[in-house]
């Protein structure tokens, strides 16, 4: 077992799946010779050739649209969109074509593709390189949306995504890319899409989050008094959501704080809070709280840490929910 960071783990998953299945292709801007701007695809072109690891022209709609064609005609494309801020031009192809094709052809034409997208802030990146658009794509039908936070989960979820018969957006929290290493098995394993993970079991309050804020939540937990028992849940998949795990937890704790980087309005926190009030109404001991990005533009990096839901804001929300 190797100690790998998130970048290395995703690289390993891609290499192993390309080895296993010759239908798998990697394509995108700078993914070949350069190995991707974050080096996630480093070495793949050398190993699998220019035909299977393709430096495409600089056009996101083109990358997604041709990936749809590749998928329709028997390939398993894994396109990379360099930053989530560049998903905009590909939005139409993802939402109106990849997501709808199975349904509008009543199963005759399907689009098995996995779009890899670095996501989120916290790395002092240029403008439009730090957003969190997972709710937008979860709102649209026919697309699965995942966001692993750990190297182990990233490999398992990516293999599950590539093998999934439907389109999957695979968000990679760039703040976690090189933040730490953990054991990632060489073996072939998958993490099921749609399954959340309980990181710590607790009795007093449930904290629900995903992506890079998992680590902000862990930091907040460290600052709480020892007698506070927190159940921390990493959603891992944003859609389809693991409702059972969160409902079961909040029915137990009666209190919940939802944390995400994206802006609050119509974010996934709104959806989760609604599910909880529908399914845990009489179990709730306090209003469900959201600790999120503000309803502003994601600021350029001098102010980004004020926007991001960092540990102190999470800790404060947990304390307020407990005191209610």
């Amino acid at each position: 077992m190797a100690e790998l960071n998130l970048v290395q783990s995703i690289n390993l998953a891609l290499a192993q799946e390309m080895e296993r299945d010759d239908r798998v292709m990697v394509l995108g801007e700078d993914v070949g010779l350069n190995g991707g701007v974050f080096r996630v695809t480093d070495g793949l072109q050398k190993r699998f050739g220019e035909d299977r690891v393709v430096d495409t022209p600089l056009a996101e709609s083109g990358i997604l649209g041709t990936s749809i064609g590749l998928a329709i005609n028997g390939m398993l494309p894994v396109p990379e969109i360099q930053f989530e801020g560049f998903l905009g031009p590909a939005y139409d192809q993802i939402v109106h074509h990849a997501g709808r094709m199975r349904n509008r052809t009543r199963g005759a034409v399907t689009v098995p593709l996995t779009v890899r997208v670095p996501v989120g802030g916290g790395i002092h990146a240029p403008e439009l390189h730090s957003d969190s658009p997972e709710a937008i794509y979860s709102h649209h039908v026919g697309i699965k949306v995942v966001m692993p936070s750990t190297p182990y989960d990233a490999k398992g979820l990516l293999l599950a995504a590539i093998r999934d018969p439907d389109p999957v957006i695979f968000f990679e929290p760039k703040r976690v890319y090189r933040s730490y290493k953990e054991h990632v098995p060489e073996d072939d394993y998958t993490v099921e899409i749609g399954e959340a993970k309980v990181l710590s079991e607790g009795e007093d309050v449930t904290v629900i989050t995903w992506g890079a804020t998992v680590f902000q939540a862990l930091a907040a937990l460290d600052e709480l008094p020892e007698d506070v028992s927190v159940e921390l849940i990493d959603m891992r998949t944003i859609y389809p959501m693991d409702e059972d795990t969160i409902v079961e937890s909040v029915q137990k704790t009666g209190r919940c704080v939802i944390v995400h980087e994206a802006a609050r309005t119509a974010g996934m926190g709104a959806e989760i809070a609604t599910i909880l009030q529908e399914k845990c109404f009489l179990h709730l001991e306090a209003p469900v709280q959201r600790v999120t990005g503000f309803d502003t533009v994601m600021p350029y990096y001098k102010l980004e840490n004020h926007y991001l839901p960092e540990a102190p804001r999470i800790k404060e929300a947990i304390e307020q929910v407990l005191a209610y």
């Binding site: 083109g62 649209g65 005609n73 028997g74 074509h97 509008r104 052809t105 399914k279 845990c280 009489l282």
Partner: protein, 373 residues
């Protein structure tokens, strides 16, 4: 020499069969057999009848909005003739029904589709056609990708994609052409320049003298063709097809044609289009010139024409019957085809036909706990 010529080219225009049904003896020689021409004429006539009946179905409330194909049959059939059914891919917009029927799409499917039923897009197994694409220009990228996959899989397969003049203003057209040029994929881009994008004339669509020249920017061989000329469309597509099969990449074909009907049944072209222009193009109708050609060769007469028209009516009548007699789809279809495997929350919506939670599982909402208190 501070100023030199960096690039120079010209755009060819290809015409083989003129408006009077006269064939260019050199270009037209041995191009299509009499049998092929006659079959094409017959298919065109059936498709014209189909188009007229579809219009009437909409007007009588038996079908929703329908975009008529009238006038563009030669562009569709001439190009589709050069492609191999079940082996080459057709990636259509919605004004080339005749090509799709030639390549195995059941004729009732298009009516089923415009009758508001997704089963019209449920392409049968083995038919290499993607569903009709209503948003403009987005499908050309799929064509490039399909051709790319064929190249990757070393399949002997060429992809033909159809779109209008307006579609060349969309960014996706440029990305599709650029990718196809860079990747040298076996794809033929067939631009049906019918002069109008709903109400916007081609002069307002682009400052280019031709649509064909747009492909030059992407290093793609390109040609302008008389789109109402079956022979020219076949020849240009055949040449493109041969090149594609030899690994010489994509081709762009501008088919100069004309939309003889409104944009769709929801449109009224008299609001923006002069009758004189329409009348001038009626004289260039691809059916008229093909009939003249066949008559000149002694292959056609009024008797055959009458028999063909009766046959076309019978075929279309049967197709309409098939479409109209299809039972209404199951409402569960809207859920069942969203994913290969239905997610739990969607399954609940399907099984209850509700998006509300009350009344579904009181225990889970904690209402059981309230009853106990």
């Amino acid at each position: 020499m501070p100023r030199t010529v960096a690039y120079k080219t010209q755009i060819q225009h290809l015409s083989v069969l003129d408006e009077n049904g006269k064939l260019d003896s050199k270009l037209g020689k041995d191009l299509l057999s009499d049998e092929q021409v006659q079959q094409s004429y017959e298919h065109m006539t059936v498709c014209r009848q189909y188009d007229e009946v579809a219009f009437k179905l909409q007007r009588s409330g038996r079908m929703g909005t329908f975009p008529q194909n009238k006038g563009q049959e030669a562009a569709a059939i001439g190009s589709a003739l050069a492609a191999r059914k079940g082996q080459d891919w057709l990636v259509p917009a919605y004004r080339e029904n005749a090509a799709l029927f030639m390549h195995g799409l059941p004729m009732h499917s298009v009516l089923t589709y415009w009758m508001g039923d997704e089963r019209g897009s449920q392409i049968p197994e083995g038919v290499k056609i993607t569903p009709l694409s209503v948003p403009i220009g987005t499908h050309m990228l799929h064509a490039t990708g399909i051709a790319w996959a064929a190249k990757m899989r070393k399949e002997d397969s060429v992809t033909l994609t159809y779109f209008g003049d307006g579609a060349t203003s969309e960014g996706d057209f440029h990305e599709a052409a650029n990718f196809a040029g860079v990747l040298q994929v076996p794809c033929i881009f067939i631009c049906q320049n019918n002069s109008w994008a709903i109400s916007v004339p081609r002069e307002k669509q682009t400052a280019s003298e031709t649509f064909a020249q747009k492909a030059l920017a992407y290093g793609i061989p390109t040609i302008q063709v008389d789109g109402n000329d079956l022979f020219a469309m076949y020849l240009a597509t055949k040449e493109a097809h041969d090149r594609a099969r030899k690994g010489e990449g994509p081709t762009f074909i501008e088919a100069v044609t004309y939309r003889l009907a409104d944009h769709t049944t929801a449109d009224d072209a008299s609001r923006y289009r002069d009758t004189s222009e329409l009348d001038a193009w009626k004289a260039k109708d691809p059916l008229i010139r093909l009939r003249k050609y066949l008559e000149n060769k002694g292959l056609w007469d009024d008797e055959k024409q009458e028999a063909l028209e009766a046959k076309a009516k019978a075929i279309v009548q049967e197709v309409v019957k098939t479409a109209e007699e299809m039972p209404k789809p199951d409402v569960t279809d809207i859920f069942d085809y969203t994913f290969a495997e239905i997610p739990e929350s969607l399954r609940v919506q399907r099984d209850t036909m509700r998006t509300t939670s009350l009344g579904q599982n009181p225990d889970q909402a904690g209402l059981g706990a309230r009853a106990a208190r």
